[in-house]
Amino acid sequence: MQPLPFRSRSYPSPAEAEHIHDSELEALKAGDEAAFQSLIHRHHGPMLRLAMSHVGDRGVAEDVVQEAWLTCLRSLDRFEGRSSLKTWIFGIVINVARARRRKEARILPFASFWRRDDSDSRRPTVDQSRFGSDGMWRAGPHSWDNVPESKVLGGETLQKVKAAIESLPPKQREVILLRDVAGFEAVEVSALLGISAANQRVRLHRARAAVRKMLEEYLG
């Protein structure tokens, strides 16, 4: 695998991350409360988003996150560090969330999970009417460089992003949340979800393209 050339956020390199996780794991096992606190602060947002993508309801998602942490604590002694601590934790969140979704589904029909899911299809992600017969842009996108930063980074934009992600098919949503919110590398996401590198990339592509489209409608 080639290194990822463009990262918008700075994550530690895998080797570095391993090192951090090792010492973090030691600290946790030794009962270091500050280490645990730092961990729950760091991962709460991504874990909550991931849980919400499975169970829909925020309150239920908060329960899922809490239950996942308690499961982590119960199993920490058995964790052997075959994966990174972070991968292990998120694997637990996914399991707890899936179990809860099955339970909720028995009570409430969950419309969004019955929708057709084209996550793995290679169909075009951009409206074909935007291209001429030569395949070149008829109406190309506009640069967002001239959109005021206060708008790009504003609360309304964030709401659009949230709405776009909520409307994604579940398989795409899971991948974009793990990659762009939780900050996992491609190989880690493939392993967590048990999907091929190619499928991981296709789902990520479809998800980002859909969010971009929604943003284009708002930002111009």
């Binding site: 918008s8 942490w69 070149m136 943003l215």
Partner: protein, 76 residues
């Protein structure tokens, strides 16, 4: 490569998974195409904006409960 093909290769490009030959053709196209350059920039902004969903503070009562659980974790 035309624009219709280039937009579908954006993620492969950002992930660094294009072959050297495709990467060169991709970059050659981008260099001369305002629309595709804007699209690529938008994909990068999109990724950055999605990343902001991570900023979600843990509710104080949840934190308290988890820290309590951590403290009791070693107790019989």
């Amino acid at each position: 490569m035309n624009c219709r093909q280039v937009v579908e290769l954006m993620t492969d490009y950002l992930e660094g998974t294009l072959s050297a030959a495709d990467r060169a053709r991709f970059e050659e196209h981008i260099a001369g195409c305002d629309g595709c350059r804007a699209y690529l920039a938008q994909m990068r902004v999109t990724r950055r904006l999605v990343g902001r969903l991570a900023d979600e503070p843990i509710p104080e009562p949840v934190e308290r409960e988890l820290l309590e659980a951590f403290r009791n974790w070693r107790l019989p």
